[in-house]
């Protein structure tokens, strides 16, 4: 996961059009590519952590 190629502006543009149905500009696709690349770096440690069989926190779990 840490070595995965980050998504390209061209792919972002196509995904926005074909998958999300949300129009974005070419400039935005380039900026998003950078943003997502930075986000990938920030989440390396999270993705690398072995969570074993931990269940996800649920939104409505409010316990002391």
């Amino acid at each position: 996961m840490a070595n995965q190629t980050v998504i390209s502006p061209e792919t972002i543009l196509r995904m926005a059009q074909e998958v999300l149905g949300t129009p974005i500009t070419e400039k935005e696709s380039q900026l998003l590519a950078t943003l997502l690349s930075n986000l990938r770096i920030e989440t390396i440690a999270m993705h690398s952590l072995d969570v074993a069989d931990a269940e996800p926190v649920t939104l409505y779990e409010a316990r002391p």
Partner: protein, 465 residues
């Protein structure tokens, strides 16, 4: 008569009849008007509403009612609904959006005798930490206009720091109460997740949003928290946990209290002057009878990833339809941040929630041996508008890490956390310490903060405005 400055003092004056609620609110409105050109603390000031409410408070008092927030003017971050008033969230997207009802926290404040002064400026949709806002004006730091006030509750911080009102409500999803509080020499309290209702508060990220007060004193924060905390049927994440008398518990001594100081990740990665000032604050608490011990908070690298994944995914979901319907009205930078979340795989979000569970359990173990943890509220004391990076002992870091790196972990886990003024740098910038407590133990945080403020006077300093 000199106008009292704190919530406690105003309540005493108004409840006793020395001042009327109307006199107090007129003073606040006049100050807001005098400062508005230079300091864009508000998106909407509500003078008619405030006067009506003040008049009603005076009537209630004349009828013999006791009101815990009698006559206190309160500013409310502009993502919190006030009936009949625009909730803009700092954005053109909501420039015509008027609230049909009060948010639960507003309803509670008004029932307690508070008077709503207006809606405060903020980083658009709360998705930022500088307080810059192209629509309503950037919020400068009252201690240095070249620097930002911090956000996203920037206007709320300004309203209190400038002495317009003693209390403002903010919201905190990554540090947006505590960070501007630290930058503006204020107390900023992020309660435990589920302690205060989010009903009527426009979300940034549902699972990490918290509503809380910015004040000058811990005592004021205690009074406000008592008024706004509690179970709310319209917010199912709120808990049935009894709301303690936070103010009543403030005077308990600190003897026997154990405060954890993290061995890594906070002090040695802050600027040396911030670390030194906060260490001195810890020493003050030791002198007051508390014991300090070293602790280790594991998974600090992982918690950043959890926060980023969660906030991007949830915020994108909140705004999905609005981006399609009104996308052109968003600030360009905010729009990009919101769009980014649309491209994150669902499995990333679920992984983040799994890691969140692991972190929560690990940190629960830490809090078995300490009553609270003390850290700097931020590794820096100031940042200029337009600044992109900061030099810390470990090297050049992004502004996000520099501003929110020490606060966001506790939005992920939901622990209560408070920022308290604890000194000034030689250049005159305020420094805040952060106290983090066990879930639903805001009382300990407030008690420690209050004791600290009895021993020091940092919180009494006011900017020259």
């Amino acid at each position: 008569m000199e106008m009292p400055k704190t919530c406690r003092e105003i309540v005493a004056a108004v409840q006793s009849g020395r001042l009327s609620a109307r006199e107090v609110v007129e003073h606040a409105l006049a100050r807001a008007e005098r400062l508005e050109q230079e300091w864009p603390a508000f998106t909407t000031v509500t003078p008619e509403l405030a006067r009506r409410q003040a008049h009603r408070v005076d009537q209630w008092l004349a009828a013999g009612r006791r009101l815990p927030l009698a006559g206190v003017p309160v500013a409310v971050k502009d993502l919190i609904d006030v009936q009949g008033v625009r909730t803009s969230c700092g954005s053109l997207v909501f420039q015509d959006h008027f609230a049909r009802a009060n948010a639960t926290v507003v309803r509670k404040l008004v029932s307690a005798g508070a008077v709503i002064l207006g809606k405060t400026n903020m980083h658009e949709f709360a998705f930022g930490f500088t307080g810059e806002n192209a629509n309503y004006g950037d919020c400068p730091n009252p201690w240095n206009r070249d620097c930002f006030a911090g956000g996203s509750s920037s206007g709320s911080a300004l309203a209190v720091a400038l002495g317009i009102c003693p209390v403002a409500l903010g919201s905190d999803t990554g540090g947006s109460i505590r960070f501007p509080a630290a930058f503006c020499n204020l107390v900023g309290l992020k309660p435990t997740y589920g302690r205060v209702s989010r009903s009527g508060v426009f979300p940034l990220a549902w699972s990490m949003d918290h509503v809380g007060p910015l004040t000058r004193t811990a005592a004021d924060a205690a009074i406000v928290l008592r008024a706004i905390a509690g179970r709310d049927r319209s917010d199912r994440t709120t808990v049935r946990q009894l709301v303690p008398d936070y103010e009543g518990g403030l005077e308990e001594p600190l003897a026997g209290l154990t405060i954890g100081l993290p061995r890594s990740g906070f002090f040695e990665t802050s600027t040396p002057e911030v670390a030194r000032i906060v260490q001195v604050a810890a020493d003050v608490l030791t002198a007051c009878g508390a014991k300090t011990v070293d602790v280790e908070l594991p998974y600090l690298s992982e918690v950043l990833g959890v926060h980023r994944t969660t906030i991007f995914s949830e915020a994108a979901t909140v705004h999905r339809e609005l981006l399609d319907q009104r996308g052109e009205l968003y600030d360009r930078n905010i729009r990009l941040l919101l769009l980014a979340g649309l491209f994150l795989p669902a499995v990333d979000y679920v992984k983040a929630q799994q890691v969140r569970q692991v972190i929560r359990k690990a940190w629960a173990d830490v809090f078995r041996s300490v009553d609270c943890v003390l850290t700097p509220a931020a590794p820096i004391a100031t940042a200029q508008f337009g600044q992109k990076t900061v030099t810390l002992p470990q090297g050049e870091v992004s502004m996000l890490r520099a501003c929110l790196g020490w606060t966001l972990p506790f939005d992920v886990t939901g622990h209560p956390a408070i920022s308290v003024p604890c000194g000034f740098t030689p250049a005159g910038h305020p420094v805040g310490m952060q106290l983090v407590g066990r879930p639903f133990d805001e009382g300990t945080l407030l008690r420690v903060a209050h004791r600290y403020q009895l021993q020091t006077d940092w919180h009494c300093r006011e900017p020259l405005c």
